[in-house]
């Protein structure tokens, strides 16, 4: 009687591995296609939006031209170039001084690839509002990207943390 004939379970194991390898390859390809699909969907949506905008502009061009001209007349694009860092700091310091705010920190840095100015100062709420008004009315590109104003206990002043950006 033969007692040591080889077991051929490895044939079945090879079958599992073959299917698993095939499944892994198909999953990888399907995942890649799903990423491509997501990108194409965004592009298709943009193309649709662009096409519908073009259609609308071609149908009602005069009406839209009047609206756009009015917007540009009322709120013109900021003029000139964006300020270099040193000039930006100096201009900001002057603005703070003009509104009697007590500057405690001014730190240029980068956030998400764009340069910002982080400020901390104290003053009355009226002076802080005045500072914000001047920023709004200035012709430059600077605007407030983050603002945090906290009332100080027992005093009539507030402490403000402001991040300025030009992008």
């Amino acid at each position: 009687m033969k007692t040591s004939l080889p077991s051929f379970s490895f044939l079945r194991q090879a079958g599992d591995q073959k299917f698993l390898l095939l499944a892994a390859a198909l999953f990888a390809a399907a995942f890649a296609f799903s990423r491509v699909e997501a990108g194409l969907e965004v592009r298709r949506d943009l193309a649709r939006q662009d096409y519908s905008t073009d259609l609308e502009l071609s149908k009602n061009g005069d009406k839209h031209r009047a609206v756009y001209s009015e917007i540009l007349n009322k709120t013109p694009l900021p003029s000139g170039k964006r300020l270099e860092r040193n000039e930006w700091i100096r201009t900001t310091q002057d603005m703070i001084n003009r509104h009697n705010l007590l500057l405690s920190e001014l730190a240029p840095s980068e956030e998400s690839g764009q340069e910002i100015l982080a400020l901390e100062f104290e003053g009355t709420m009226t002076d802080v509002a005045g500072f914000l008004y001047e920023l709004k009315d200035s012709a430059g590109w600077t605007y407030v990207s983050n603002l945090e104003v906290t009332r100080q206990d027992g005093e009539n002043t507030v402490r403000a943390s402001v991040k300025l950006s030009q992008k």
Binding site: K2, T3, L5, P6, S7, F8, S9, R12, Q13, G15, D16, F19, L20, L22, A23, L26, F27, A30, F33, S34, V36, E37, L40, E41, R43, R44, A47, R48, D50, Y51, T53, D54, L55, L57, S58, G61, H64, V67, Y68, S69, I71, L72, T75, P76, L77, A129, L132, L135, K136, W141, Y143, V144, S145, N146, L147, E148, V149, T150, R151, S165
Partner: protein, 470 residues
């Protein structure tokens, strides 16, 4: 899963054998099943497909096979085993022990103990050498009768090893005698009062005969056959009938042959078919599958082989799971690829349609782009003041704001403050909701506490600036 869908998928994948196997695995169609038995150096396998007529494979497996013999046999089995789900191995009568004996329990002796004692009395030297089980039957006389079915352990091990060497670990091992008896006892055409019936199983090189009286097995024998010809079978059957008459002093009243093929060649011996359609091997295989499904016939697989069987089943399940996984991935791939192609086509088509329109409005689009940029910048610059103005307009007397935080990128702001009455906070929230530039104002937190000023309510509100329309 939708049966029609997978049926359609199968048709679609007719020319892709690997993927067709995945689809086959997923559908609810029964899988291939096989019933085998060794016979004179060959493994006879009856393969049952999905609704098709069973096919017969006879694979030469010599007692001492060479590597070449084994390889050939394995390849032949692998050819029809790929889609097979269940494998039942039947041990023929010549390799088995079948005995009937009376069972009288002694005083104070349990039935199990009586059976064990009687087995040792009937087979004093063999009880430890065979794997057996005992059933009880009524034979029309007072007292019970024990019916023992057994297979020599060595024979069983050898057959299982030979099967394993061919890549097969059966799901069940049955004894042909027990299977035939079960098939007859469960035959709807059988009558309880049928006496002295001969059941005949005409296998290729042997004939197995069961003597049955009113459904109870009296005796079981097998006879070798000179040739696989009707004349040889008739001669054997004649011998069997005479042996029965001589030994039991009874005349067989009926002879039933397994299967329903014509038995006209039995040399004038009248006989009927039983046990279903088709030739012997198909009827036996079909009976084995039914018995396996119902669990009615004893499985002689030794305990030492249970683990190997479990591994074999696990292996098959793993293959099936891997195939399902691959089919799922393939479906996902086809879906993603077709959607991506659809999106690319639609984008290209939009580009084609847009080209003439776009050329005519290019200057206006530049103006629009500048206007939008200007509006966006204006909004960025005015947003902090818009918030301050809104807060001033909405804040009632008796409410003090402690802090304000604003994030331009998210167009969101949050407020913290305190009030001397809860309704002031509700008024403040209502006032904020009315501001034209604000939306989604929510009260995030409200707490009350008491100090030397009396009861104070602190709150936290979050709101959003309305998004600009392009």
């Amino acid at each position: 899963m939708n049966r029609a869908f997978f049926s359609g998928l199968q048709d679609m994948l007719q020319d892709l054998p690997v993927l067709r196997r995945f689809a086959h695995g997923l559908s609810e169609r029964p899988r291939m099943r096989a019933v085998s038995f060794f016979s004179a150096g060959r493994l006879d396998v009856t393969v049952f497909g999905a609704g098709d007529a069973p096919s017969r494979e006879s694979i030469p497996v010599p007692e001492s096979p060479s590597q070449e013999d084994l390889q050939k046999a394995r390849e032949k089995i692998a050819g029809f085993r790929q889609e097979q789900g269940t494998w039942i191995h039947v041990i023929p009568r010549q390799a088995a022990f079948v005995k009937t004996f009376s069972l009288e329990a002694r005083e104070g002796e349990s039935k199990e103990a009586a059976v064990l004692r009687r087995v040792r009395e009937e087979m004093p030297h063999l009880a430890d050498e065979i794997l057996y089980h005992v059933a009880l039957q009524e034979n029309g006389t007072p007292g019970q009768e024990a019916l023992l079915f057994g297979i020599a352990k060595a024979t069983l091990e050898e057959q299982l090893r030979r099967l394993e060497s061919l890549g097969v670990v059966p799901d069940s091992v049955m004894l042909s005698t027990e299977l035939l008896l079960w098939l007859y006892q469960n035959d709807p055409s059988r009558r309880e009062e049928d006496k002295n019936v001969l059941l005949v199983h005409d296998a290729a090189r042997q004939i197995e005969v069961l003597y049955v009286d009113r459904g109870a097995l009296v005796q079981s024998r097998w006879f070798g056959k000179e040739a696989d010809e009707p004349a040889a079978a008739a001669a054997v059957l004649q011998t069997a009938q005479e042996a029965f008459q001589r030994e039991w002093r009874r005349v067989p009243e009926k002879t039933l042959v397994l299967g329903n093929e014509s038995r006209g060649g039995y040399g004038g011996i009248p006989c009927e078919g039983f046990g279903g359609e088709g030739p012997d091997e198909a009827a036996l295989g079909s009976a084995a599958l039914k018995a396996f499904a119902s669990g009615a016939v004893f499985d002689f697989t030794p305990a030492s082989w249970e683990d190997r069987r479990r591994r074999s089943r696990t292996g098959r399940e793993k293959t099936r799971f891997a195939a399902l996984l691959a089919l799922f991935a393939a479906s996902w791939l086809v879906l993603s690829a077709s959607r991506a192609a659809g999106l690319a086509l639609e984008t290209a088509w939009l580009g084609v349609r847009q080209a003439p329109v776009s050329a005519s409005v290019r200057e206006l689009k530049n103006l629009r782009s500048q206007a939008l940029k200007a509006a966006r910048y204006s909004r960025k610059k005015t947003s902090p003041l818009l918030i301050l103005a809104g807060l001033r307009a909405a804040a009632p007397q008796g409410l003090i704001l402690q802090s304000l935080a604003y994030d331009e990128a998210k167009a969101v702001f949050s407020l913290k403050g305190e009030a001397v009455a809860e309704n002031l906070i509700q008024d403040f929230l209502a006032g904020l909701q009315k501001q034209p530039g604000f939306e989604k104002m929510t009260l995030e937190r409200l707490e009350s506490s008491s100090d030397d000023r009396g009861r104070i309510f602190t709150f936290e509100i979050e709101g959003h600036l309305k998004k600009e329309k392009p």
